[in-house]
Symmetry: D2
């Protein structure tokens, strides 16, 4: 998955703000799921969500404004109630590995919406 | 309401990213409501939300990393189904007016949560 | 320009958080500039930045998770030291106009980076 | 350090978007440094930055809109060129531990500003 870096992604240090790489990880997982016919938003409507329960990430080099990045994702461990993915972010123009990490997702029923957390199902 | 500027708020231009001031406006509205005994999250649970329907904002001068800002909010027009607030952002150490604008909120029932839109896709 | 809505774009109201549309405006301006051979990040390195000085935006309908949006941008007024663009966000699957606004940019020399403001504190 | 959860912090799952907790970690580090007389923005101006080079985080339970959180930070390893901090996020009204992690910061000269990356060192 490609990610272009805009002003919104950067910080006053002149580089991408570190938590934003983790957003790109999530975009890439959504697109990976889509490519296998699974739609994260649809699944959530039907009560299946995949919250991140653990992150282990190494930030090796920074991206800067206007960089074009690739996010690479592949599974490393699939369990009954969780899955761990390896995700890497590489800059396209020099192939440099910028960030890599392990992301563990749980598979569990969607949390109740904050508009319906009083024990009364929305359709009741 | 006070707002401290952290790295997350800034961009590679060395200043606060422009849309973030509008987040501070929303924080300040939430706290203003709270000071009058209205809790935005509680209201949403009970089906009342106040979406922004119009913004008119002048960005006069930028804030930078570590600035401490004040957000000032007061109503300028209260209608049956909407309210318009004037909101200003001032830097505390020199009193400089950085941003000012008019924010119009509608009062309307909460949208259905995406986790509970069973049978009625929003885009259908 | 296309924008896909991910979890990061949404809020607990189940819709896109209002300030995020204004980020999509900025992404689209960057791509529009690029399509005319102007690279915003390069221009900034050479001392030319285009800060938003005024926004006037109507939020007409919300986008939701996984929506695919188009951002449409065209100039409405070009002055000596500023330019005003009209920007619209339309949902692709039903053609619905969600957001439209006028964005005024100034053209001026880049602010000094916070890492290089030697001797001249920005707040002095 | 206290963190109040606003709409901007949440996502369509009705909870705080996972990367935002890592922003709160950074706010808390900035305030911890400040309490010891070190100002992150000042240090950056003088060429000292502390980029996150590694994160190891467990997300144990979600925060929701309007929660008031505490961020607790303490050092676990101080090396010559890096420091590792343990950071925890606890919800104030029930004392529940929501997130905990290890954050490793490098200490190194500030990256060149994007406004000065054209072969001319900033001090030249």
């Amino acid at each position: 998955m490609d990610v272009r870096i805009y002003y919104e992604d950067t910080d006053a240090g002149g580089v991408v703000y570190h938590t934003n790489y983790i957003k790109y990880f999530e975009r890439a997982r959504t697109e990976l799921f889509r490519s296998h016919g699974f739609f994260v938003a649809e699944l959530a409507k039907n009560g299946f969500v995949f919250p991140v329960v653990r992150l282990e990430i190494d930030f090796k080099a920074p991206a800067v404004h206007d960089d074009l990045l690739s996010v690479i994702t592949y599974p490393v461990r699939v369990g009954g109630s969780s899955i761990t993915l390896c995700q890497k972010i590489v800059r396209q123009n020099d192939g440099k590995l910028l960030v890599e990490g392990l992301v563990t997702l749980a598979c569990k029923p969607a949390v109740q919406s904050p508009t319906h957390t009083t024990g009364d199902p929305p359709d009741a």
